[in-house]
Structure formats: C-alpha cells, structure tokens
C-alpha cells in the first residue's frame, strides 16, 4: 500500500468519524444555544447566539464549517472549563496515555509468556489455568472490580493511593513537561512524587493490564499453536535445537508479526476505552473528560475528545501496519 493510499484511507475514515460525531452533536436533545445564554435570556439574545453558532445555515454547510475548524485545530471552547477544548485535550491526554501505556506494558510482559506457555503445554493444567485467568479477565466488570479494589487496598489496607493521580499535597510540585507524572517526576528528580504517583496508578493500570493480558495471552496461544504445527519447527528440532530455542526463537519469531497488530489493537482499546476505569478512579484523562462533558451537554468538548480518540486509533492502526511490514520479510 503506497503512502497516497494510506493518506486517502485515513482522510476518508476521519471525515466519516467527524460526520458521525457531528450528527450526534446535532441530534442531542439539549439546546446548545440555551446552555450558552441561559434559561432566562431574551428572544433577541437567543437569536443572536443562534446565528453566531451558525445554526441558521444548512446542515451540510455547518458540517463544512465544523470540518474547517477541526482542520485548524479549533474545537471551540468548553462550556465546563471555559477554555479552548484543544488546551483541555492537551492537558488530559497525557494522563490517559500514561495509564494505557503502563497497562499495556504490564499486559504484554505477562500476557505473551502466558500465551506461549499455554500453547506449549496445550491440554495440561497450566493451559487450563491460563484459560480460566483469561476468561475471568473477559468477564469482570471493571467499574465493579475497581470499586472493590479501592475498598480493599485503599480503604481497608491502605497499601495504595486513592482516586486521582497524586495525593493532594503532591499536586503541582513538579513542573509539567510531558504531562505524564511518572516521567515528569523522574525528570525533576523528585522520587517522593514518583512513588506517590506509582501508588496511585498501580491499581487502575493493573486492572487495564489484566484486560489486555487476557486478550493478548489468548491470541498469543492461538498464534503459537498454529506456528508449532509448521514444518520449520520440525526442521529446528531436527537440527538438534533445544525446546526452549524452538519455542522462543523460532515459533515466537513468527508469532511476533501478527502479535504486533493484536498489541496495537489492545493498546488502542485501552487508550479509548478506559472511560469506566477513569470514572471509578477519578483519573483526569480523556475518557473522564468526554463522559463528564457528555453528561453536561458540553458538545464542543465531546466532539473534540471523540475526534482526538478516533485520530489516535487510526494512527495506531497505521503504525501497526508499518511495524508489521518492518518485521515480516515477506511483505517487502
């Protein structure tokens, strides 16, 4: 696939995404004019605001305006924070990124080996345990287990930090560089803040990690089973290689390629789908931002947030395609 085609696909997908977002914004039963001018505004003030928002124009024209604004990075102002939505997004996105990245790293480091071992020991108790572990992960309502986790580890045992990213007396001590507190605190050399941030991120990231572990280990297992059946595995054994080298060098070397897509998908899922986790843990990320905005009819914020999340998803997909090509010699 050439660069032009990729660009075209991305453009079409993004426009579609924007269109759906726009339509949702249009059919929202809450009157955007009223929420700006307030209930008691006079008819003339209302009409004035109505025109200013461009609501008197045909829908398609409104959409084109919207598109043009998005291209310029102008998502308007948030009603809740009274600041440009773009600024808000730049502020909240690192929190989500940090959470999803830590979750994915833990999920991959545990999930891949678990999947490999389950495949190698197919049908044994290790395989069954790996299966049950994954199925439990698929079945757990995150908003519930998060609550229970907070209750037990924060409320009763006091082992971890509570909701939020930091304890209140650590907030705003260190300068914001990347927006990811774990990195910023290390840059500032403040280990107190770092460990406090760790105590806050460990539970939500651990839960997200469990979800990605469940998915990644199942996919790894099925890819591995497929590869272990291949003839080159016999070749490797005929050479006299140890089972360890056969599995981890030869088979996993081939599994690496499709696994990249799976990991990218799961990462994208954590980036966009941690709405409930962020709600439970009051994690000031993009999921919480969009949910809060939705519940208070802050359409600019909702549309902006959705666009950014969609963009991230599309970019990750392209990135995984490129990695796929890089790792698979056959696609060159």
């Amino acid at each position: 696939m050439g660069f032009g085609r990729i660009a075209f696909t991305v453009a079409i997908t993004m426009i579609g995404l924007l269109f759906i977002t726009f339509i949702i914004g249009r059919v929202m039963p809450i009157d955007p004019v009223l929420s700006i001018v307030g209930e008691s505004a006079s008819k003339s003030t209302y009409d004035e605001a109505y025109r200013q928002l461009g609501l008197d124009k045909p829908v398609i024209v409104q959409f084109l305006y919207f598109l043009w604004d998005v291209v310029r990075g102008d998502f308007g102002e948030s009603l809740l924070t009274a600041r440009p939505v773009l600024d808000d997004l730049i502020r909240v996105f690192p929190a989500t990124l940090e959470l999803a990245t830590v979750g994915t790293i833990i999920g991959v480091t545990l999930g891949v080996p678990l999947g490999v071992i389950a495949a190698v020991k197919q049908g044994t108790w290790i395989d069954h345990i790996a299966r049950v572990v994954a199925l439990i992960g698929y079945s757990m309502p995150v908003f519930w287990i998060g609550l229970i986790g907070l209750l037990v580890f924060y409320g009763k045992l006091g082992w971890i930090g509570g909701p939020g990213r930091l304890d209140i007396f650590y907030v705003d001590i260190i300068p914001t560089v990347t927006g990811m507190i774990l990195i910023d605190s290390l840059l500032a050399g403040d280990t107190d803040v770092f460990w406090n941030a760790v105590s806050h991120i460990i539970l939500p990231a651990g839960l997200l990690a469990y979800y990605s572990l469940a998915y990644i280990s199942r996919m790894t297992r099925s890819f591995m089973l497929e590869q272990l059946d291949q003839e080159y595995i016999t070749t490797a054994r005929v050479k006299g290689l140890s089972e360890h080298a056969v599995v981890w060098r030869h088979a996993l070397g081939n599994v690496k390629v499709p696994l990249i897509t799976v990991i990218a998908l799961s990462y994208a899922g954590l980036l966009e789908g941690s709405v409930l986790t962020e709600t439970i843990f009051s994690w000031p990320g993009i999921g919480l931002y969009i949910t809060t905005a939705l519940l208070s009819a802050d359409m600019n914020a909702v549309l902006g947030g959705t666009v950014v999340v969609g963009l991230v998803f599309v970019c990750l997909n392209i990135f995984s395609d490129l990695l796929y090509k890089y790792f698979d010699p056959r696609s060159k």
Binding site: Y232, T234, T235, R237, V238, K239, G240, N254
Partner: protein
Amino acid sequence: MTNLLEVENLTVKFPTRNGMFEAVRDISFSLGRERLGIVGESGSGKSITGRSILRLIRRPGILEATRIALEGEDLLKKSEREMRKIRGHKISMVMQDPKFSLNPVMRIGDQICEAYRLHAKASKAEAREKSIKMLEAVLIRDPERVFNAYPHEMSGGMGQRIMIAMMLIPDPQILIADEPTSALDVTVQKEVLEIMDKLVRERGMGLIFISHDLNVVSAFCDRVLIMYAGRIVETCQADKLHEAKHPYTRGLLNSLPQLEHPVDRLAVLQRDDAWQTAPSVSGTLEADH
C-alpha cells in the same frame, strides 16, 4: 563392522476415537554406509519411520521398539538432552517442501549458521565462512547474496539445496531425505538429487531416501524397502527391483508406464487384505546374517 543404524521391532501408534491406529507395525531394518530407499504410498508409514529414527514422533503418538541403535548405541536409552546432540550432529533430515521447512522470518545465513554452531564451537565469522562454503557445495551461484536473503526470495529448487546445505553442515553420518523432491518442479528434481547424492557419497554417509517414486529410488539407491500399511512387505537390491516378487511391488511396477514396452491400458493395482496382516519382512542387511 557394525551397521550405522539398526532398527528392531519398531512400532508407532496413534490413539484415535476408534482405538489405536498403528502407523508403523513391528518393522526391523538396518543401514550401512549405503543408500537405502523406503518406498510406499501415502499412509504406508514411511515418513513416520524416518521421524522415529530421530525420535521426533509428536504427541500423542507412541513409539515402541526393541532397539534403535546408532553405531551400536541405543538411541531409545538416551535422554532428550542427549538426543539433541544426536539430531543434526549425527542424524539429519531433509523434508519435503522448503517453502514450509525453512523459517520464513529468519535469514537463510542465520539458519545455516545456527545449525553449524549448535554442534561445533565456532565464532560467528567462522560459521559464516563455513556456511558460504556449504552453499557453494550445493551449487548456489551467489552464496553471499543468498546468505543474507530470506527463504521466500528463493525458488523451490534453491530452497531444497539450502535445506541440504543446512542439514549437512554439522557433518552427520546419516541423512534422512523425506520425499526431498516431491514438491519441486520436475526439471529441478534431478539436479537436486544429484547434488545430494554427490555430497552423501563424498562424505561416506548413510542415506535413507523416502519416496513414493519407484523410478527415482531405483536410480539413486543401493537397496530398497517396500512398505505397505505400516509394514515392510519386501526388500531387494535397487538394480534388481524388476525381479521383485511381492504382488504389491509387482502391482506398483506394472502400473508404471514404460517407454520401451508401451501398453494400451496400465494395470490397476489390485489390493489383497492379507498384505495388511502378513508379518513384516526383515530389512536388515543380508551381510549380517
């Protein structure tokens, strides 16, 4: 002199829903520094026999034998770790289709070097030098380029030559060739066989050549075992194959078209249920007895 390899009473079973399926049933044979052909139709157990020698029968298959001895040493008594020192180093195997038997995401050079360095203490540079020499030995024209290439960039014939190079580089004493040319174009089959034949003879190795092709086997082997339904039904010198007596062998021979004696209609093989239950013929070298 003892034989290179002696197999006594080998049986390989697979559990299925309808009971045990015996893929190989109580066969015995031996191999000297010769080229031994094993011929049979698909499902006759010839490939399983080849893999049994390396003890590479996959679960849930069960391998049973009185003895599988390499130069008098019983392989069945060896631990899996000791077996790994035999595989590749003493006994090697070339498989059917290089498209599947080479690791698609590893460079060819790395795969050959891996085979060499596993059994010989050698630096990377030495292994590389040796691998390039080996690629030259299997008549690959541009070994430097092939060394850095990936398997999918090779044709079938090239792939099989690479496979032969990879399997011969640790200098094994026995090579098992399991249908090494069946997946190749007819035009390159002979070429690949001649390369393999030359190398095996130069090194004084034993060769077990597994094939369904009577003509190829009689041309490239010294001795032939004919397998049917997991048993050896007949054994004979390759050049005396036309004198074979067993009805199955005769049937196979008669169903081949012959240039000198054209017939209107080729004979169809008539099977006899008795062949399945008849005991195995011994395939050990007559010189031993």
